[in-house]
């Protein structure tokens, strides 16, 4: 077992990637795998790494073969970053050329900086230049990932315009004509959240250079439950003492999240949908916390009551109105289902008790 908390995708799936790389077939210049192999790596097999619309994956792969960058947008927690990591790992064999977008990002993080000791000693030389992940990916002909691009200031975002259209970065400090041209295989995958508070609008010049793909929540409940169960098992690998989570409890959790996310029950009845993000990623967090609770703090088989205790933390984050909507859901939907299922009854009782305690 590695001592890192989380390893990059190309390390975790090294064996699979090298097997796929050995497959014959034409591939775009600079790509380690054929496009078909990339797709199979991401959504093939019995345990697809990305669960969702296969058309989206197709479009993303084909976009990256062209000259346009790929922009993944969508609600938080819909596995945009996961998809971008998998694409980079499959196409370039490296997913670590990444810029984490934030308000603190400056142009240098997207272009290059200097090793100031060398700079003072030697003046501007190629050795003193510290390439950004973008520049190093251009040199190596690889995919660079830019996370949360819309959190960077607009003038910083616009650095990418010339990188995407010219595929070149000039370094005037090294001489008048010194420029670094991207090798084949270079492209940009950006992820962005267009709806959150505290994000910047992108310029249309930048938008034109990207193909946009919207990553949505998983539409198939069975696939979602399977994904949550799998991710939960991966997270619990470090806790050998924990019992595996029963599938019906995972299904309950996924059902609660789906109902509240879509504002609609499976039979079409409308329920009030909270503003909080009820994503699959959040449901994995809840399942993880609930299972840790059931393993260490309130020992016993994982049940609806553990889920109920953890869901509160997700739903109550900031908006008191959300708590009222959740109470309505517990009082009406969960109580009704509790009449038919012991699991739901436990969930209802625990959720109602917790709500009463927090004074909602």
């Amino acid at each position: 077992m590695s001592d890192a908390l989380r390893l990059p995708a190309e390390v975790i799936h090294a064996a699979e990637l090298s097997a796929l790389a050995a497959e014959p077939g034409p591939r775009p210049p600079g790509w380690r795998l054929t496009p078909q192999a990339v797709r199979r790596f991401i959504c093939g097999g019995s345990a697809p790494k990305f669960v969702g619309d296969p058309g989206l994956v197709d479009r993303s792969i084909v976009s990256l073969m062209g000259r346009q960058g790929l922009m993944l947008v969508g609600e938080p927690g819909t596995a945009k970053s996961l998809l971008s990591e998998l694409l980079a790992a499959a196409i370039s064999g490296r997913s670590t050329a990444v810029v984490q977008g934030s308000a603190g990002i400056i142009e240098d993080h997207l272009r290059y900086g200097w090793n100031y000791a060398l700079l003072l000693a030697q003046g501007p030389t190629p050795q003193a230049l510290v390439p950004s992940p973008v520049l190093s990916a251009m040199k190596a002909g690889q995919i660079v990932r830019i996370e949360e691009l819309s959190r960077c200031a607009p003038e910083v975002q616009d650095v990418l315009i010339s990188v995407l259209s010219e595929k070149v970065l000039t370094v005037p400090e090294l001489g008048e004509d010194h420029e670094i041209r991207a090798r084949p295989g270079f492209n940009v995958i950006a992820t962005a959240n267009l709806r959150d508070r505290g994000v910047h609008e992108m310029s249309s010049a930048l938008k034109r250079r990207f193909n946009f793909e919207t990553v949505t929540a998983i539409s198939d409940p069975v696939a979602e439950a399977a994904l949550v169960a799998r991710q939960l098992a991966e997270r619990m690998a470090d806790h050998p003492g924990a019992a595996p989570a029963p599938l019906d409890v995972i299904e309950l959790l996924v059902t609660v999240f789906r109902d509240l996310r879509t504002g609609r029950l499976a039979d079409g009845t409308a329920v009030a949908s909270p503003k909080a993000v009820m994503s699959t990623a959040e449901s994995v967090n809840v399942a993880h916390a609930a299972l840790l609770d059931a393993t260490y703090l309130n020992p016993g088989p994982l049940g609806g009551q553990h889920i109920a205790a953890q869901v509160q933390g997700v739903v109550f984050k900031d908006d008191p109105e959300d708590a009222r909507k959740f109470r309505a859901y517990v009082d009406v939907v969960a109580r009704d289902r509790g009449g038919r299922s012991a699991l739901w009854r436990d969930f209802h009782r625990a959720a109602a008790a917790a709500l009463a305690k927090s004074g909602v």
């Binding site: 496009p35 078909q36 797709r39 959504c43 093939g44 296969p54 058309g55 197709d58 479009r59 792969i61 084909v62 976009s63 073969m65 062209g66 346009q68 947008v73 969508g74 267009l194 709806r195 249309s204 938008k207 034109r208 990207f210 193909n211 946009f212 793909e213 919207t214 949505t216």
Partner: protein
Amino acid sequence: MSDFLTRDQALAALFGGPVAFAPIRHHSPACAHALRSLIRAHRPEVICIEAPTPLSPHIPHLTEPDLVFPVALLTLHQGRQSYYPLSAHSPETIALQEAKALGAEVWFIDLPSRLDEAPRGPDETPFSASAFVAETCARLGLRDGAELWDHLFEARMGTQDWQGFFADVLTYCAALRHGTDLTADDTLPREAEMRRHIARLNGRRAVVVTGGFHTPALFQGDPGKPPPADPSESYLIAYGEEALDALSGYGAGLRHPAWYARLWQAAQDGPPDWLALARDLITDFTAAQAAQGHRIAVPQQVETLTLAAGLASLRGRGAVLLPDLSDALRSALVKGETGPAEPWTRAFLRFLNGTAFGRAPASAGQPPLLRDARARAQAARFDLSTSVRRPRKLDFRRKPSHATASQFCHQMAILDAGFAQLTAGPDLVGGVNLGLLFEDWDCAWTPFVEGRLIEAARLGADLPSAALARLLRDAQALGTSGQGQDLGALVTLMLRGWRAGLGPRLGPLVAEVTGLAARSPDLGALARTLRRLTAVAAPTDPLHDPQAPDLGPLLAVVFDRMILLTEDLPQSPDEALPEAIAGLSLLFAATLTDPRFDRPRLQGALHRVAADPRASGLLLGAVAGLLTRSGQMEPAACALLLQGQIGARTLKPQDRAALLDGFLRTAPMLLWQDQAILAACHAALSALSDEDFTTLLPALRLSLSQLNPHETDRLAAEVTRLTGQAAAPRTSLTEADLARGLALDRALAAQLAADGLAHWGEA
């Protein structure tokens, strides 16, 4: 699994004998192309087609040179319809055309469609729903059954290897069949019927064209018994691409017919140039979008084509198919977050639904009504070559041609043809917006319009006759459904006919309305009839029709009847009064403006009511209001009457307020027009003790609630002027606050009185 595991077995079953089987999917151009090669190679004497046998008489018409696809065979049976559509690229169409070229016979070998059942569509459901399809899609990375079919078969459009093509279709369909419940519908009897026809071939060379789903059942098995005679009637009608896609009445078929029509066109001489096809399509789509003001820049078009080609190659096919194009369009055009129903993709798919509308050949024979309606539609310059819904503005009052077009639309509406919808314009039937000059219609000539017209054909040979017959039939139906005394419903029918230009032939309906009006006991209904008729009856009326019968006598009958009923009002039960008073108001308003009505007669009747001792307070108030308005009663007398009634302590509270209530129903304006009346009411109300006022309040409030906000403001202004007080400022006090305040005030006054300090309060 499938019964045909090997290619050789499939080939032997399909093409091993004198009878060759062509397993097809309806409307599939790739199947049509392969079928053409098959027929030319096999040179059959008979071609059997999976179509209902009773439709056989139409076979010769389907290859007429003046026919324009798409067309459909429409079957009518006891008011239900079923369509058998054919497009230019349907395999059935190709079979018919090749049969004619070869001089082969054509047999339709299917059972009649079961009109008593849900629409037939067993050929299609398995193409999208079966587990086999879902699993195959998952393995190949395709999204659904439609894409799978295209990927496996349409991508082979124009192939020379038609044997291999049909063997694969057979294997595919056999696998679909394997997972389908065949007893759920009439699949098995239909297949027995098909076998019966095949047995009749007796070794003649033939090609059997059926849905691939049925083919495995046709190689062997018991033939069915001849079906009973089919009583339905059928017609060959024009059909639209739009309906070809949307129609669920006949489930079989591919979606987005315009796309497949293009594919068929591109593959006339072998496999199409897929990239050129995609390029032309995107160019045309760009032009169509530009016409609607949505620009697609050249770089975006290039990106779309590049992406489409890339997607096709990623998905392992040489052919650029519809999902590749729509995906590419989405990637290239959308710049932002979007949901599954993204507008560009929607517009693109709508574009591919097509709008072309076919034409039935002249020889096919149409019911005279349909021919007449088409001729009239063309004369009125409606476009019959497309089924797109289009707006049309008609200046029907000034332009005779527009008047004719308007009447045409109204006649079609009477027949429920679904052709035109009035979105704005005068509503004669409802009596609303009668002064408007224009009518706005939304019109679309769809196959369903033709279907409805054919259904209505027995009502008459031309449109006006059919519309009139329909109105008369509906009038008769009113009687049988227990609405025989419903004057309003009958007048509606008459006015619909009137608006549709049927006036000259409405004599029977006018007579019926007259008869009913002369017997009607309902003053309210008569008043509404009067108001509706005054819009059409005289040459000066907004929608008068000089050709129509004179409505003067009818108006006279209605007026007479209303005078009679007015004089009977004192004996009416209380609950009928409000409606009757509303009618009386309408009648009074009509006599004010319309010299056709004898005002003194109404005034005489009102005087008699006023003098009748049985008249209730409500009625008396209403009549007093009307008489005062017409100058037949002095305002002072009216004021006295109101004051007396409100102040009459011997009466019950609701009766004391009733006269004011009735007065407000007919003459509220007098309250601010005539000082004497307002002053009298004010005096009467001020003279009430607090207790009396509180008891009267609910009834008074109810009466005053008849005033609209504008009138309330007006009255309030007059009252403040009368009492010399400034208007009360708006406060946030509620009525409950006010009531509590009043109660406190009273309690305080009582306490002061009890303490002998009553004089404090007076200060």
